[in-house]
Subunit: 504 residues, 2 copies
């Protein structure tokens, strides 16, 4: 479990920290296998024992990392001169300190209460959504809002919401997000309307798209973009995800739509984007921050880049349509352009997870505004459905028929994951900005994509994003890779292109 | 993780032991998932990290169970009056004491050396078998023999081999096995010759037996004999096994032969026999001996009972042949009798894992005699190939062409598993004896099997074997279930029937 990392790494307290960090990662990776299996293969009756296994592993990880000696080792390292230490050592120390402080600042009673209430809230949310009855969920959500505010207060800082954001997007600030999101919202709303007035594209044939054929095509595409199947695999799960079970074991999951092969394929491009990030992290630092993904927003930039910037591009389908035809003979009367238009169809809709690239951010901005107000105490839980519906109408110009299609649709708040949603839009913005930068750095990137050649793009991402692990903060990483902090321009230009490419 | 078990279970030291035992079981069950995944789905490059995960979990289990407080708790319990304690409490205390003593009697250095040498020996064995070159394996085997003798000396007792046997078959004694095996050997040899002179049965059609159809048929049969798929599943693995990942999570694996559907089906009957045992153990005692299988020999009796006594019976095929025909239309010119004869074909062969029911025990008796002599120092490793070949010729009347088909064929000795082999034949003897007793207890068992009705048999096994966990020793369990200790009679009668049923 222990490995020393060059010069500063010989310092005993650092070695101890690295060893402990790897041990925690070891438990997490085992936990990830338990979770992966739970989502893919576990027999129906095995849930209760499995949940206790996962909880026990989480407790052990938590105890290992919050033990007093970890604080002592950190202090000892911080008393050293680290000027000559490597980027990896500095990054590790910075991240270890942060996660240790955040973990130890929370009283055990609060951690347990959050876990207990989240479990209850999850069940209540499921039932509330089923019945579209917000009052079933409301008392649970109130408690989670209280506890999350308490959590944020323990973590400290000037802004409660910022303290929560830090869990998902280190260094991100609400004020910056607000500026970014306010800059996007009106344009996205306008583009959504413009997209909707485009003529309805010719529908793709309804199938058959046999699952075996979809699996074979997905794998072909995932391999082509660089996903290494000697270090990973694809399985089926109701809720697609990517998980890391070890430095050479990155697993993707997807689900299949019998009537639309593009749904699973774009899902795989998305998950493989996450997977390429994980496969591109430096193995030598596995189990330490320098070998770990830095944030959800950066992770999502990788998945969105492959799913949207590449997978929804005209060039992509020029190359892949003939290959898709071989797997799905029903496409013989269709064409690359029809698939291109199909995957870029813009329609305002009520449900986030069904949203297209143009309207997606509006869903996020809505949630960001509301959870932000909940944390400030400017919005009460009881007023949430009303606030949701009126804000939704402002952003989308559509009425919400019931709470199941409104404020009850997402799982996140039932798990007290306040501050998570913005990372989706940060991912979109970063994806567009990174793809633009890659396009400037790689000669003829468009032609390469049209020729099914992704190596230069993959290498650029590995060099500029993956290889850094968590040594740079997300903001620093994007600035270093693209020459500027996260901005809406590239993303808005991308959304604009979706519309203009289909006009006339 | 902790549960109290009725009256005596309130005694604090007992509660602590139960909690620790469940905690160890928790780690083992997580380890079993890691191992299951390794054998079924793990990507090729993930092996090294996975091995380190498994090793770390084993170390943790070992440390948890050998900690000084476990000894203190045991002493405290043993000072109590346990007269009124339940069978489960008594059984747990007996088994905990035994496993604690056995674990703590071994010096850490010996445990580590055995692990290290086994790992090396495994690689050497693979290479030796590949090249059929015993000298590659010999030095490793010598070391493992030495270390195993040392291990047996640490465990103590009058007989080194008995001390090793105890790991796999508690309470079994070499002298008893020798008597049993010497009683079987001449009969089995004679029956093998008789079986071989039967006319060659009409071959079954060579297929097609598509894997999907085999999977569907296997599942239908496994469900029919009572395997609960809400608490288990079947996957594909190169080396079939059954593993327990939790009280409601028992997994079987099998492999498929494109040209013979009976191979996988009998494999599934075998593994489902193990699985029914695991599913039939009392859930309330999961993670303690009272909720655990008692020995390999008893486990094998359950797998062999379903595979051989049921799955190779005429009655079984009378019922299942028409159903097999639905899955495999190629069987339309065949008949139940042809399948019956096909799965009962007797042929002496060199390789144990390919042996039929009649010759199987001869392979075991050979290994028992040789490993017994190795442990006594009566046979040197260098003389092993010669001894194997001459003993084989005596038992089978066949020459061994090379060591790959002789003493290098099995993995067991490369893992220092001396004392494991006899449990296979104990399983066969117990399977026949249990099936005979079940037949005496259940009216018209044969007719029920011919009607595809297995409930009475399943319930009889659950009541007489599964529900006891490890509260009775294997010998006591068989005596209680069948009215007598393990004897060769029922098994020899079964082997005799295989021949006589096909004669004339």
């Amino acid at each position: 479990m222990s490995t020393q990392i060059d010069s500063f790494g010989d310092f005993p307290a650092y070695t101890k920290l690295a060893e402990r960090s790897r041990r925690v990662a070891f438990f997490s990776s085992v936990g990830s296998l338990l979770h992966w299996d739970q989502q893919t293969f576990q027999p129906p009756a095995a849930g209760a024992y499995r949940a206790s296994q996962i909880a026990a592993l989480e407790t052990m990880s938590h105890e290992l990392w919050t033990a007093g000696e970890v604080g002592d080792w950190l202090n000892a390292c911080e008393q050293q001169d680290t000027t000559a230490a490597s980027t990896q050592h500095k990054g590790n120390l910075r991240e270890w300190r942060k996660s240790y402080d955040r973990a130890t600042k929370l009283p055990t009673s609060l951690v347990e209460e959050l876990a207990r209430c989240s479990a209850l809230a999850h069940d209540a949310w499921l039932e509330a959504r089923k019945q579209s009855a917000f009052p079933i969920f409301a008392p649970h959500l109130k408690r989670l809002v209280e506890l999350s505010r308490e959590q944020a207060r323990c973590w400290g800082g000037d802004d409660l919401y910022d303290a929560l954001l830090e869990s998902y997007e280190p260094g991100a600030k609400r004020a910056d997000l607000q500026r970014l999101f306010d800059g996007i919202a009106p344009h996205a709303s306008a583009l959504a309307m413009a997209g909707e007035s485009l003529p309805e594209p010719t529908p793709l044939p309804a199938g058959p798209y046999p699952i075996e054929a979809q699996q074979a095509f997905n794998r072909e595409v995932a391999e082509a973009i660089g996903f290494d199947f000697s270090k990973g695999r694809i399985d089926t799960a109701a809720h697609p995800f990517c998980t890391t079970l070890g430095p050479a074991d990155i697993r993707l999951t997807t689900r299949y739509d019998h009537a639309d092969f593009t749904s699973s394929l774009l899902g795989i491009l998305h998950e493989a984007g996450h997977g390429l990030y994980e496969q591109g992290l430096p193995d030598d630092y596995f189990g330490t921050p320098a070998g770990s993904a830095v944030s959800l927003g950066i992770h999502e930039s990788q998945s969105r880049l492959w799913e949207n910037q590449v997978g929804r591009s005209r060039e992509f389908w020029e190359f892949w349509f003939p290959k898709a035809l071989r797997h799905f003979p029903c496409l013989k009367e269709s064409a690359a352009d029809a698939v291109y238009r199909h995957v870029n169809r813009v329609r305002r809709s009520l449900i986030r997870v069904e949203a297209d690239a143009v309207t997606y951010d509006l869903h996020i901005i809505l949630r960001f505004r509301l959870e932000s107000a909940l944390m400030d105490g400017d919005l009460s839980v009881d007023d949430l459905p009303g606030a949701w519906n009126s804000e939704f109408e402002k952003l989308f110009g559509l009425p919400i028929p019931d709470d199941a299609h409104g404020c009850l649709q997402d799982i996140h708040w039932s798990g007290a994951s306040f501050g998570y949603f913005p990372t989706y839009t940060l991912g979109n913005l970063n994806a567009a900005q990174l793809f633009q930068a890659a396009g400037a750095a790689i000669p003829k990137l468009g032609e390469k994509i049209a020729a099914g050649q992704y190596r230069d793009l993959g290498e650029w991402l590995r060099k500029n994003i993956h290889s850094h692990g968590s040594t740079l903060l997300p903001g620093e990483l994007i600035s270093a890779a693209t020459g500027k902090p996260t901005q809406p321009d590239a993303h808005l230009a991308y959304l604009q292109r979706i519309i203009s490419d289909q006009t006339g």
